[in-house]
Structures are given as structure tokens and as C-alpha cells.
């Protein structure tokens, strides 16, 4: 091969390498940017007076005097809306029957749109679900609901050959000639005065329990549950894994059984996590009966089994990477085998072992499948440390799935989903970062 071709080949390979890295970076951006921007929106957002009302009633938080003056000022503008509605109800009674029938239906839509925007109307009975007790708590949601009030959504399916298209018709036109027609411009112009939007920092999203299945409140029970499960898994898996790795590297005699055990361990590392979930249910709950039904301990044990092979592999590699000369030096000083392992080999292998452990911890925090059947519930309050043997817990990974797929009002609370995703990603990232820092510090200490 001549120099020219060789150089071209080298350059083109460099170009391909850089290109693939750029593609990966872009893909990552595509995922991470929405997670971060939307996730931050769960804590920093423009909140309305309804949000402050909710905080005061449900969490006893906020200043009651300020709130009551705010409510009073917003009620001044709201009362006009309510008056218009009752006025139209009276007008409705005087209409001719067929006209009445036509308007009644339209009016019901308007009324529920106002309800969604401002909360229960005067005279309504208190709703059962907390989500209906308040109007829109977030300004961007309020703007969406305002659009719903002002325009009726219709579908154009006149052409059977193309997909139906949504279009909007102003409701005001429908009420032309009645007293209600004034409502629409009024609400549009005075919505800010009725809802009093204000920049809100809601740290409670991290520290509060959820209200009405994540409609309001925060995700603390999920965060706590995630930590319980991940750390619980580590408490079982770390000592077991290190002992197993020491056995494999220091004590096991090479042979058929040993190589079988090793390849079994490698295979176990590749088993899909849902299989571990089913195993956890069948073994820990049904057979061993570690708990009546789902519990943190059962979930932690299942996760421990799942991460055990990874920890064993990492620890094995770390131990094998310790220079042979350390072993020789220690033994030549009259140290026993066990002493050599405990005082020389394991300390020198510690950075590697810890890195593997913390990466496994991150994996345990993020896994969903193993805890579906063994530990996770969709809604629940934070549990105490004493309850880990009997109670299940909400956890971030499982609740993200639940909110995205099974929640009855998933589309209403996207910000909570994004907040949970961001929380989980941050926790895993934090764990991995701490692994890097820990490793660097210990290595520095070892290198002098």
C-alpha cells in the first residue's frame, strides 16, 4: 500500500470516528434537552392563585393573609363571570323549547370549561377528587384551557381520502344574540386578574408527597423508595459479590466446576431484568415468604440478585489487576493468605470494586422490571425505615412507566412525568459522578 492510500485511509477513518461521535452527541441532546427543560418546569413555573390555594389547603403552606387578599382580588373579577353564567341560566329558562335545547348543550360545555379554568363554581357541591377542587394551577395549562373555552374543536372529515383535520370554531359566534356572548372577551381579557400568575419555585416537588395520584404535590415517596431499593440491593449484593470475587480469584482451584461457575456468572449478567422480576416474585415472595406480598425487602433482594454478577465481575477484575508483587511482598513478610487479601489485595483493588459497585447502584436505581412484581406500587406515601420488611413503596422508575402509560389523566400531568425522569436521571448521574470522584481520590491516595 503506498503512502497516499494509507494517508487517505487514516483520514477517512478519523472522519468516520468523529462523525459517529457527533451523531451520538446529537442523539443524546435530542433526549436530554427535553428531559431537562421540561423536568425543570416541574419546580420552576408560573403558578396561579389556585396553586397557592392548593398548597395552603393540602400542605398548610403559605401565608394565609396574603392568600386571602389575593383570593379576594381575584374573586372580584371572577364574580362577574359567575354572574354572567347565572344570568344566562335565567335567560335559558325563558327561551323557546327547541332553542333552549340547542343552547343548553353548548352552555354545558362552556360551564365545564369555566370550571376547569377557575375551579368549582359557586353553588357546586365539593368534588370528591382533589384535582377538581381547584382551577388551573399552572399558567401555561390555564392558557390551554382558555383556548378550550374560547374555541370549540371540530374535525373536518369532509374528504374521505385524507385524514380528518382538527379546526376550531369560536364559541362566541354560537352565542350571538344572547347575554353570554360578553363572557368570552371578558374572560380573555381578565384571565390574568382572575388567576394572578406569578413565578413560582416549588421545591416541594422534591420533598412533598403526591396528592390525588400525582395531580398535585411532589415525588418524595418515589425518590425515597428508589433510594431504599437501590441501597437495600447494595447492602446484600456488595458483601456477597466481593466475597464471591475473592473466592473466584484467590481460593477456587481452576477446573471444570470453576469455569462453569464463572460462565454461569457471565450469563446471569445478561439475563433480561424482567426474568429477575418474575424470579423475585416466585422465589422471595411465594417460596421464601420474606414478606406477605410486595415489599421493599423483596424488591431489594431481587435487585441484589440482578446486580450481583456485575459486582462479582468488577471485583474480580479489580482483584486480578492488583500487581503480583504486592502479594509476594506481603507473603514474604510472613503474612497469611487471608491477611494478605484483607490488608493488601482488597485495599489496592478498592477503587475498581467501588466503581463497579456504584455503577451497579445506578442500575439498581433505574431498573423497572425487577420491582414491578416485588416492590413497586403506583401511588403511596413515603414509608418509614421500619416498614421496609412489610410495605411496598413507590419508586421513580416504576412511576415513570405508570404515569406514561397507565395513569387515567396522563396527558394532564406531563410536567410530573418529566420531573420524575429528570430526578431519576440526576440520581443516576450523581451516583456515577460520585463513583468517578471516589475512584480518583482513592487512586490518588494509593499512588502517593
Amino acid at each position: 500500500m503506498n503512502i497516499g492510500t494509507r494517508k487517505i485511509l487514516d483520514r477517512s477513518f478519523t472522519a468516520v470516528g468523529i462523525g459517529s461521535i457527533i451523531v451520538m452527541a446529537l442523539a443524546l441532546m435530542f433526549v436530554v434537552v427535553p428531559i431537562v427543560t421540561n423536568g425543570i418546569g416541574a419546580v420552576f413555573f408560573t403558578g396561579t392563585v389556585e396553586h397557592r390555594k392548593m398548597l395552603f389547603n393540602e400542605f398548610k403552606r403559605g401565608d394565609s393573609q396574603g392568600l386571602s387578599s389575593e383570593v379576594a382580588s381575584s374573586d372580584r373579577y371572577r364574580s362577574k363571570v359567575y354572574d354572567m353564567l347565572t344570568g344566562f341560566e335565567a335567560e335559558l329558562e325563558t327561551m323557546a323549547p327547541e332553542k333552549k335545547k340547542e343552547y343548553k348543550e353548548k352552555y354545558a360545555q362552556v360551564r365545564s370549561a369555566v370550571q376547569a379554568l377557575l375551579g368549582p363554581l359557586p353553588g357546586d357541591s365539593t368534588p370528591m377528587l382533589t384535582r377538581f377542587k381547584y382551577g388551573q394551577t399552572r399558567w401555561e395549562k390555564a392558557e390551554e384551557k382558555l383556548h378550550d373555552l374560547l374555541y370549540e374543536s371540530k374535525w373536518d372529515n369532509s374528504n374521505p381520502n385524507v385524514m380528518s383535520k382538527e379546526y376550531f370554531v369560536s364559541r362566541a359566534i354560537g352565542f350571538e344574540g344572547t347575554s353570554l356572548v360578553k363572557l368570552f372577551p371578558y374572560v380573555k381579557d381578565n384571565l390574568e386578574k382572575m388567576l394572578l400568575p406569578d413565578f413560582t419555585v416549588y421545591w416541594g416537588f422534591i420533598t412533598d408527597s403526591s396528592v390525588d395520584s400525582h395531580f398535585f404535590g411532589g415525588i418524595w415517596p418515589e425518590i425515597q423508595g428508589t433510594f431504599f431499593l437501590a441501597i437495600g440491593a447494595m447492602l446484600f449484593a456488595f458483601p456477597l459479590g466481593v466475597v464471591a470475587a475473592v473466592y473466584f480469584t484467590e481460593y477456587a482451584k481452576p477446573g471444570f466446576l470453576n469455569s462453569m461457575l464463572r460462565s454461569a456468572n457471565s450469563t446471569l449478567a445478561g439475563v433480561p431484568s424482567i426474568v429477575f422480576g418474575m424470579f423475585g416474585l416466585a422465589f422471595f415472595i411465594n417460596t421464601m415468604k420474606v414478606s406477605e406480598s410486595k415489599s421493599v425487602i423483596a424488591g431489594a433482594l431481587t435487585l441484589a440478585i440482578m446486580i450481583l454478577p456485575t459486582i462479582i465481575r468488577a471485583a474480580e477484575e479489580a482483584i486480578l489487576a492488583v500487581p503480583k508483587t504486592y502479594r509476594e511482598a506481603s507473603l514474604s513478610l510472613g503474612s497469611t493468605k487471608w491477611n494478605t487479601i484483607a490488608t493488601v489485595i482488597l485495599p489496592a483493588a478498592l477503587p475498581g470494586i467501588l466503581t463497579g459497585a456504584v455503577i451497579s447502584l445506578g442500575r439498581a436505581a433505574g431498573e423497572t422490571a425487577p420491582i414491578i412484581f416485588t416492590a413497586a406500587v403506583s401511588v403511596g406515601s413515603a414509608i418509614g425505615l421500619a416498614d421496609v420488611f412489610s410495605s411496598p413503596t413507590p419508586a421513580l422508575s416504576w412511576n415513570i412507566y405508570n404515569l406514561a402509560s397507565e395513569h387515567e389523566a396522563a396527558s394532564q400531568i406531563r410536567h410530573v412525568q418529566y420531573g420524575m425522569v429528570l430526578a431519576l436521571v440526576s440520581i443516576v448521574l450523581l451516583l456515577n459522578l460520585s463513583a468517578i470522584v471516589l475512584r480518583a481520590r482513592i487512586s490518588k491516595k494509593l499512588k502517593g
Binding site: A329, L331, S332, G334, A348, K445, K447
Partner: protein, 284 residues
């Protein structure tokens, strides 16, 4: 003459021969009782089926320096490492014949290799301090053997470092990591670490092969200092070094102990033509 008496006279002859090796008239005698410290009898070491050391019989008198020379792969390191059973780390390694240390079989059924290694210290080819502080490196051995008193440990550390002639260089940074020292300092630290467990024998496995000439000279001076206090055995590729530091020299070739003689004699007037070829550099 009974069998017993015959054996005694044979061993007496052997001892006399050994004394002649170690105590030729021109060398300064070391005060001591001239006991045989290590003794091999028809001692062979195998790696699997390969016989690495072949039926070696030799006596080594305590407190003297014995050098082992020979080409690479001749079994000299293997022989050295057999004395404190470091070869146990190699699973396929086994021995025949007898190797006696203080009259007891090193490979005996009831020999405690941990105790043996306490008495037979070793310094390796590459300096191998632990990734700990200088103090902890030296104190590692004494701590293993039950010394935990801080003051006593400090005494041992100071004494060992002084014996290894490195105290002046490190006394103000005992808490610093030992890996920060230079190669020569690390090797002397390793000697000090070995001395801290108060061994009777010091095995040096090519201790200067990874060092520069200046550091090598320091190690050689150190060996001269320690001569008379410890039985020292040194494996070396450097024949000048062997002639400088040792009282007697063993020449190994392909696992066979070709010649064991006083250093002066071996380097000036070797009996075996093979030894002569080797020391004059006629084969490699």
C-alpha cells in the same frame, strides 16, 4: 565402624569442605559459631514434569553472604525462592530431596510456611513497596506479628530504616506514600521492611537489576553492612557484583549446581571448565 559413625564422619567432612569454602585463610572471619544455616540434600524442584533445579546438595553457613550466579533460566531464582517457599504460589511446582533450614525440613509436612517466611525474608527484583505510607510499609510486618504499640512500632521503623541506610533520606516524610520514592530508595525501603520482621536469612533476588549504578552501589554497601548480622543469599546476573559482595559463590547451569567455592577462588581459579567459560564470558 558403625553406619552411624560413618555418616557422622561423612557429614563432618562435608562440613569441613563447607568451612573451607566460607573461611579461606585470607578472608576475615566473622565472629559466630559457624553453624550450617541452610542445607540442601539432593534437592530438586520441578515445574510440572520439568526439573528446574537438579539434585542440588549444598551447605550454607550462617551470617555470610552467598552469591548465586548463572545464565538466565538456570534455576538460580527458583532455588532461592524455594528457601522461603515462595514457589508455593506456582501450583505446578513441587520438590524432591531435602531442604533444611536450621535442621528442619522446609518442605516437611508440618512446616508452617508463614513462620518460615518470617525467619527467611526476601527482597525482589523489582522494588515492590505497598501503596501505603513509608511508616505503614515498614510497620506492616511487625503489625502482622502482633506489635500494635505505637511507640514500639516507631522504634522498629526507625531501627529498620537505619539498618537499611535510608533513615536520613526519609525520616521527615514517614507519612508520605512509599511509591513517591525513587527506585533505589524503594528497594532499600523493601530491605528495611524485610528487616523489620527480624529475619535470620535475607534472600535477595536480583535486587539491583532495576536500579541505576548509583543506587546499585548503595545496595551493595548495604549488603556489606548487613554481612555478619544476617545470612544473606543474593542472586545476581552481575558477576562484578557477586565478586564484590559475597563470601562464597554458587554457579548454576541448567539446573545443576556446577561449582560452589569461595568467591575469590571461583573467580580467579575455577575448578570446573564450565565455570571458567561462564565467568570469562565465553558462552552465554
Amino acid at each position: 565402624m558403625t553406619v552411624d559413625a560413618k555418616e557422622t564422619s561423612e557429614s563432618a567432612q562435608l562440613q569441613k569442605a563447607t568451612r573451607d569454602i566460607y573461611l579461606p585463610p585470607e578472608r576475615k572471619k566473622i565472629s559466630g559459631d559457624d553453624t550450617i544455616h541452610i542445607s540442601a540434600k539432593e534437592f530438586s524442584i520441578y515445574y510440572g514434569d520439568f526439573e528446574a533445579v537438579k539434585r542440588v546438595s549444598v551447605d550454607i553457613i550462617s551470617k555470610y553472604v552467598t552469591a548465586i550466579i548463572g545464565p538466565s533460566g538456570c534455576g538460580k531464582s527458583t532455588f532461592l525462592r524455594a528457601i522461603n517457599r515462595m514457589n508455593d504460589l506456582i501450583p505446578s511446582c513441587h520438590t524432591t530431596g531435602a531442604l533444611l533450614f536450621d535442621g528442619e525440613d522446609v518442605y516437611g509436612k508440618f512446616t508452617d510456611e508463614v513462620l518460615l517466611r518470617k525467619k527467611v525474608g526476601m527482597v525482589f527484583q523489582k522494588p515492590n513497596p505497598f501503596p501505603k505510607s513509608i511508616f505503614d510499609n515498614i510497620a506492616y510486618g511487625p503489625r502482622l506479628h502482633g506489635v500494635n504499640d505505637k511507640k514500639k512500632l516507631m522504634e522498629i521503623v526507625e531501627r529498620s530504616l537505619k539498618k537499611a541506610a535510608i533513615w536520613d533520606e526519609v525520616c521527615d516524610r514517614l507519612d508520605k506514600n512509599a511509591l513517591g520514592l525513587s527506585g533505589g530508595q524503594q528497594q532499600r525501603l523493601c530491605v528495611a521492611r524485610t528487616l523489620a520482621v527480624e529475619p535470620e536469612v535475607l534472600l535477595l533476588d536480583e535486587p539491583t537489576s532495576a536500579l541505576d549504578p548509583k543506587a546499585t552501589a548503595k545496595i551493595e554497601d548495604l549488603i556489606q553492612e548487613l554481612r555478619g548480622s544476617y545470612t544473606i543469599m543474593i542472586v545476581t546476573h552481575n558477576m562484578q557484583q557477586a565478586s564484590r559482595v559475597s563470601d562464597s559463590t554458587m554457579f548454576f547451569y541448567e539446573g545443576v549446581l556446577v561449582e560452589h567455592a569461595s568467591t575469590a577462588q571461583l573467580f580467579t581459579n575455577p575448578k570446573d571448565p564450565m565455570t571458567e567459560d561462564y565467568i570469562t564470558g565465553r558462552f552465554s
